[in-house]
């Protein structure tokens, strides 16, 4: 089997986990979660070097920050399926007394999480800080981060992008989930981002584009290439062109499922498109 064929069952199970988590509490964000499932799967299963015995300080390992915290369902599923905590805990998503808060947080001590996110636009700065500390500690591991494309409308990002380019933060790989959608509609209608690549280039970043961010081979190649670009004096951004809601036909190519859970009938429809592979929680 190819690497991607090996990973496909994992991806499919994560999609099921996403749908089941949001359905169970009739809330949460399936669209962006599904769009980034392949990215998370490749990153955590194949690319990042980390200790499964979670250490908040993340020393001598690669670390990841999710800036667009609302896509917590995919994050939680992948963390659980990788062994950070029991997959059964996915049952507690967004419920009272849970470590799986609506948006990820360190507050309840969930293994795998090193910063709270949800209020948008803060993760780039945090990632830069963590990358700087790795440099001070002579730790040659990489800091990865993920950001929504709509999230780039938050001004703090541009402070951070300017800083990272100017200061040459070259142990950072930021990924932009470029799905062209946000809550109120298409980003090109709400607040056009225009040419994201040119913007990053102008700020002295190395830019990689992944044409199909839902293709495992392309995501893998993109992340490998990004990794090769580290340590060369510039930060790296990977623009990941994804389809919001990928893998669940009625959720694709629309912003409608950004922050809405499927009802019983649509859940079954979505699950039927992604049969159980590794066992439901």
């Amino acid at each position: 089997m190819t690497e991607s064929q090996n990973l496909e069952p994992f991806v499919q199970q994560v999609r099921r986990d996403i749908l089941r988590q949001v359905h169970a509490v009739n809330s949460g964000h399936p669209g962006g979660s599904l769009g980034c499932t392949e990215f998370f799967s490749v990153l955590f299963k194949e690319v990042m070097q980390y200790d499964i015995n979670f250490k908040p300080d993340g020393e001598n390992e690669d670390i990841f920050f999710l800036s667009n915290g609302h896509i917590s369902p995919v994050y939680y599923s992948v963390l659980a399926r990788c062994g950070f905590f029991d997959v059964k805990e996915l049952n507690t998503f967004r419920k009272i007394n849970s470590r799986l808060q609506g948006h990820p947080t360190t507050h309840e001590g969930l293994p795998g999480i090193r910063i709270a996110s949800g209020s948008l636009g803060q993760g780039m700065s945090v990632s830069i800080g963590a990358a700087q500390t790795k440099k001070l500690n002579d730790d040659e591991h990489i800091v990865y981060s993920l950001h929504g494309d709509g999230e780039l409308q938050e001004g703090q990002n541009w402070e951070a992008i300017m800083y990272a380019g100017s200061k040459g933060i070259d142990n950072l790989i930021a990924t932009i989930d470029h799905n062209g959608q946000q809550i109120d509609g298409a980003t090109k209608e709400v607040m056009p981002l225009n040419n994201i690549k040119d913007k990053f280039t102008a700020f002295d970043w190395q830019v990689i584009e992944v044409n199909d961010g839902n293709d495992l081979d392309q995501v893998r190649n993109g992340l490998r290439k990004a990794r090769q670009l580290t340590g060369k004096g510039k930060p790296t951004v990977m623009i990941l062109n994804t389809v919001m809601g990928n893998g669940v036909d009625y959720m694709m190519h629309t912003h409608e499922w950004h922050g809405k859970a499927p009802d019983d009938e649509l859940l079954e429809k979505g699950l039927a498109q992604n049969p159980e592979t590794l066992g439901d929680y």
């Binding site: 908040p56 300080d57 993340g58 020393e59 670390i63 920050f65 947080t105 360190t106 507050h107 090193r114 910063i115 709270a116 996110s117 949800g118 209020s119 803060q122 993760g123 780039m124 700065s125 945090v126 990632s127 830069i128 800080g129 963590a130 990358a131 700087q132 500390t133 790795k134 001070l136 500690n137 730790d139 001004g155 703090q156 402070e159 951070a160 300017m162 800083y163």
Partner: protein, 315 residues
């Protein structure tokens, strides 16, 4: 009667700068970040001694707070430096989510707090910062009274695990506390004992409280003067014990009376020993341009104002 002597006027921000510089020697995990105000914050010495641990972020305070939060991951202790206004109101959400809620060990060091920033005027004179910061769960809030205490507090907060807001100022003010003191977070400092009225003060108003106590003494009123440099966690026992003794309380601060020290004292006493209280604080207003002492006079933040409030209580 108190025996405090002004050993010379000096700015509290210089106490921060000196403390930070010494800290750099003692603790290799301490890093400093500044948003284009290195000179104003007196961080130049640290920058010169430890260039590899000094981060100039430019005029981008939100980014500075996020970077500071990130730098804690891996064991660094970041000290951020900018004016109090840009350390709090401008970046409240970054502090709230990336630092306070995330439980990050960041030290928010804020100069030019209050009216005494002076001529720059109300855009820069924050009088709401204590309120904003003390509202954040887990945040420690400290406003030391002079150079020596600011220097000691700067060093003490490095040993405290968790976010801290350290507030200090621009003008040269009396330096009167001990040179080699150890700052204890959450511990009130009883500067003068008295039975008639308790004066609880912070920051620049502590010296004014001592001056007020002298004036009251001449009128036969024995004031107790307590420096509550740590506003959160408040030394509630010291507040309650003093109020039980005097049954009259004046609070004094360079801050709005909404959200400041006065409210923290009032809440404590309302629960444990309801006491008549007067507030020396700004009265829900913005500041304006002027010399520091002119502003303190105009807005009623000085020894005279404290005396008037004390007499009103004892009236």
């Amino acid at each position: 009667m108190n025996t405090f002597t002004n050993t010379g006027n000096i700015d509290t921000r210089s106490g921060f700068g000196a403390g930070l510089s010494e800290l750099g020697d003692k603790n290799k995990n301490v890093v400093a970040l500044c948003a284009d105000l290195t000179g104003s914050l007196k961080m130049n010495d640290f920058k010169k001694k430890f260039p590899e641990r000094f981060y100039q972020v430019g005029i981008a305070e939100a980014n500075m707070m996020g970077i500071a939060a990130g730098m804690t991951i891996g064991g660094k202790i970041p000290f951020t430096g900018t004016f109090a206004n840009f350390s709090t109101g401008r970046v409240y959400d970054q502090i709230r989510q990336s630092i306070a809620y995330s439980g990050k060990n960041v030290k928010l060091c804020a100069s030019h707090a209050g009216l005494t920033l002076g001529e720059d005027g109300a855009t820069h004179q924050i009088l709401e910062d204590i309120g904003m910061m003390k509202m954040l769960p887990g945040m420690t809030v400290i406003n030391p009274c002079d150079y020596n205490q600011t220097k000691a507090a700067t060093q003490a907060i490095a040993d405290h695990e968790g976010p801290v807001y350290l507030r200090f100022g621009r003008p040269k003010v009396p330096n009167f506390t001990a040179e080699d003191q150890k700052f204890e977070i959450g511990k009130a400092q009883i500067l003068q004992e008295g039975n008639d009225v308790s004066i609880f003060a912070i920051g620049h108003l502590v010296w004014e409280a001592l001056e007020a106590a002298k004036a009251l003494q001449e009128k036969g009123i024995q004031a107790e003067v307590i420096n509550l440099a740590t506003i959160k966690p408040l030394d509630e026992k010291a507040v309650i014990d003093s109020a039980k003794k005097t049954n009259a309380v004046v609070t004094a601060e360079e801050h709005n009376y909404y959200g400041g020290l006065g409210e923290s004292v009032a809440r404590t006493l309302a629960q444990h020993h309801p006491t008549r209280q007067e507030f020396v604080a700004t009265q829900d207003t913005f500041g304006e341009s002027g010399k520091p002492h002119e502003l303190l006079d105009k807005y009623g933040l000085n020894a005279d104002a404290i005396v008037v409030k004390a007499e009103k209580l004892l009236g």
